[in-house]
Subunit: 604 residues, 2 copies
Amino acid sequence: MDKEGREEKGGRRVMVGVAGVVLAASFLFMRGPVQETSAPSTPPTYDYDPCCSFPCQNQGVCTTLQNNSYTCDCTGTGHYGTNCQIPTWGSWIAKQLKPDPETVHNLITANWPLWAVINRIPFLHSKIMTYVYLSRGDLVDSPPTFESDHHYITLDAYYNESYYGRALPPVPAHCPTPMGVAGPKEFPDVDELIKKVFLRREFIPDPHDTNVLFQYYAQHFTHQFFRTDYTKGPHLTKGNGGVDVSNIYGLNEQDRRALRSWENGKLRTQVINGEEFPPYLKDVPAISMDYPPHIPIPETGKFALGHPFFALLPGLFAYSTIWMREHNRVCDELLKIHPHWDDERLYQTARLIVIGEVIKITIEDYVQHLSQYRLRLTFEPHLTHGTHFQYHNRIHAEFNHLYHWHPLIPDGLEVSNTSYALMDMAFSTAPIFKHGLDNFIHAMVNSRSGALTSRNHAHALYPVLKKVIENGRQLRFQGLNAYRRRFGMQPFTSFLDLAGDPELAADLEHFYGDIEAVEYYVGLVTERPGPSVTPLSMVNMGGPWSVKGLMANPICSPKYWKPSTFGGEEGFQIIKTATLERLFCLNMKTGCQNIAFTVPPGTP
Amino acid sequence: MDKEGREEKGGRRVMVGVAGVVLAASFLFMRGPVQETSAPSTPPTYDYDPCCSFPCQNQGVCTTLQNNSYTCDCTGTGHYGTNCQIPTWGSWIAKQLKPDPETVHNLITANWPLWAVINRIPFLHSKIMTYVYLSRGDLVDSPPTFESDHHYITLDAYYNESYYGRALPPVPAHCPTPMGVAGPKEFPDVDELIKKVFLRREFIPDPHDTNVLFQYYAQHFTHQFFRTDYTKGPHLTKGNGGVDVSNIYGLNEQDRRALRSWENGKLRTQVINGEEFPPYLKDVPAISMDYPPHIPIPETGKFALGHPFFALLPGLFAYSTIWMREHNRVCDELLKIHPHWDDERLYQTARLIVIGEVIKITIEDYVQHLSQYRLRLTFEPHLTHGTHFQYHNRIHAEFNHLYHWHPLIPDGLEVSNTSYALMDMAFSTAPIFKHGLDNFIHAMVNSRSGALTSRNHAHALYPVLKKVIENGRQLRFQGLNAYRRRFGMQPFTSFLDLAGDPELAADLEHFYGDIEAVEYYVGLVTERPGPSVTPLSMVNMGGPWSVKGLMANPICSPKYWKPSTFGGEEGFQIIKTATLERLFCLNMKTGCQNIAFTVPPGTP
């Protein structure tokens, strides 16, 4: 155990407990346990770049040398050997003690009385939440290491913030197959793949009673940071790298200024049918929205929103309206406490409170439902203060792809006994004004969303699905198994192991031949269902990106997370008591029923 | 000791040792030691905003309430009470154990044999270096909290990266005096101030034998991150927030591409008088340089460099040339190891190595000389791995002002027996081509720079000096004493305490009346000289910003700091063996003598 061993720090060893530390210390100058391995002591040469086969294990870094040989840099991996295959004693002990992620997941989603007890013991619950935050956060490289233009580290991965980050570098461009060395020489035909594996035969409802309010929350929430710059390419973003509430307030200062009323800190509104709504686009010329030029939309159907895309669907417009009302409600609350504050301070402070509410609701309502954890998830920023947690985030290209959750979308929605097909609602806010916002919200509450699984993509969304698969190919994503390894999971050993269902497994085997060649997004969606709303790989990859994005927000850092940042204890309490239900019930006009991310009990 | 006490974590308590922890734990539910204090239990009201008097101590946050009363948020300060004036037991013990910064400084700069011993015991030396990195880093809020447009926390302080950060918020705009409540109603006349306090009577050489090579290093190094966007205002920057070597390679991708040769990773060069130099501006039309339109400069006097400002002075051009040659030299070294690498990979990897060399030389040669520490400063990024150190940086407006070190600049330079006045060298590279680069470099080595103190600003730099004072006023900087408190130093108690010299003290008292009203930059420069090249406040404020900027660089983070990032062990060694002397000697044509940041012994 030499340099790598000594530089291996923090985290894992703590788990081993004091006895383990003493034991490990006594072995400090011994080599780690040599395992049975087929790795040769001097690597052979190949007729292709040997790094194409990703020979370095445990996240060692492969560098091609002359004569088609290679070397693995095992620094910081807790392993050594030609292929970083031999664990140091510390890593070996940690590995023995650490249960399989699938076992942990089953335990944490199991309906045991144990969780009811743990959830009620603050000391123990805090310890577990701290572990959740830190262990999830540790899986995201911060500062970011890779982008999509290089398969090695460059300074641009950090300094060029136009790049989405990458958890794994692209497959080098000159490899024998698109996945390196595994699988077919060419990717499977995307249309055939979609038809066989993705398209909905008949609507499969989500087995966890997830409703359409959840589906739209996902879309509304994530588009604040998934802001691909499509004019330049799928590897670039216009976003700010996190939960910046730009979907509510606008991405740049010009947009933010345009959406302000400049009175008492509030956002611009207008009254339609006696209710407050966002202003018409015609009244806010500085804002540019993505209304398609070929579809005739009346001027009273076009609105100015924080996100150019949120004109797309009435569900997004509903969320936009509710958050706008919430901002203005918070301004009223602040004005009661600070009647002498000017518009600017009320606006800025309300925005800080709203970002806190977004994070609170996302963790405690949204992720709680999504994960189906029986552990009560809580938003407690102080738990990571003083730890090695890094308060900086970069959105990853793979996170964007993973979040293509279009199977959630049902083929239509019934609002007050009127049926709307998916395409009836595109680029239209008409259902909201016809039935009233409250009725539309209740329709979202009462409608089941689809299961996030294979063969459940609505036909209308074919182009979106095709684009995400094509973009994944253009970005040269490594295969699903590479990502499973990257995020501490066991790779799938067979197509049946992945898909669960023999027929689907056979289809996938037909396309890919080798389980190592299954594409990232294709694998994520075709994985057998588990106890959460998404399959397990999505939970264990999306979880780290999600926790990182939420908890690395500046407001969670020690110098921000205090009452004065939010206008005093009253403002702080608005965040601490925020729930999905309060968000809607405080901002609906005629009253609210059953606000939750599940359909009410008894819904067919 | 309630919430604040419990949330007080990490860092300081460790110092107390095990005994202290046990003691502190036993006091956990007791109040802290009540100190004699004049703070009333219910704050009185004022006829002005009471927060203008900065009543909250120990970095508590003041919020004005109705009826001109106020409240202090003491969260995380380790103090409580109306004005956060009462330490918790933990803070009280830490305060007792922690020596005064001035005492520490005197100890660390004292020429004791103890340091020679400590510098040679790796275990002990590493412990001290870790403490240096972490304690310095802790003084910089990360993520950043303030910018110059608001005197309270906003999301823009983090998300709007055009802002320089602020260590202290601006003085609120509606206060009785520019400094809050202290001092005169109007700032002293800037011209009178400059004449009395700043302008050079006769050249005062730096007593630490600092030479002009050091002065130009400071200028060349810092302008990669001090990139004020003057067209928009002194609170805004075009820079990337740190050591990004943009002064060598260019700030944006367009500039970087223009400066590349696209062959073997190298930068574009041209041969003049048998030596490699940067290309003429006319040959790189994509680059825009700040040559003044009213001064006639021949086309063979204009060069394309990574920084538009580096045409200003031949010293900056000399550094630009040396770093360009170093980049190309590193490319040659990489090509020997990786003959199959393409131009792109050679370029990107050489840039990573060069950034490492810059940081290494800055810490081990430049800061070592600047601080005059007898502790050997070392660049050891692994020391902060796994700690709470944050790998993200924002340049602060106050750091930019602090770094206006123009007293270092002598009135002229003698190159090969030819004397050049300061203005002879402005916008001109002629001395380099007349005498040769090597002679010019040796002239910088052999020439003394000025002492960084009052009454030592060259007359030619009057406009620069006036601008920095005026900008500080426009940015509403708090006074020097507020910054002393912010960075853990005792505030000055009198003008004599600040200036040391009675005559200067009297002049300052005439201008400001109250020691609390002394402006930030004015106070920094007029402080009595200490053992370092800069006065002590500059060391203890600049130190944290500097350490943070150097060690928070992405290449210092655990996933970057490994051989493979730098092309393998050979590339890693280029960083680890970099020195100022090697930088010059490997890139000078005719040989090098006495390369250092001090004039050679015996220089008059």
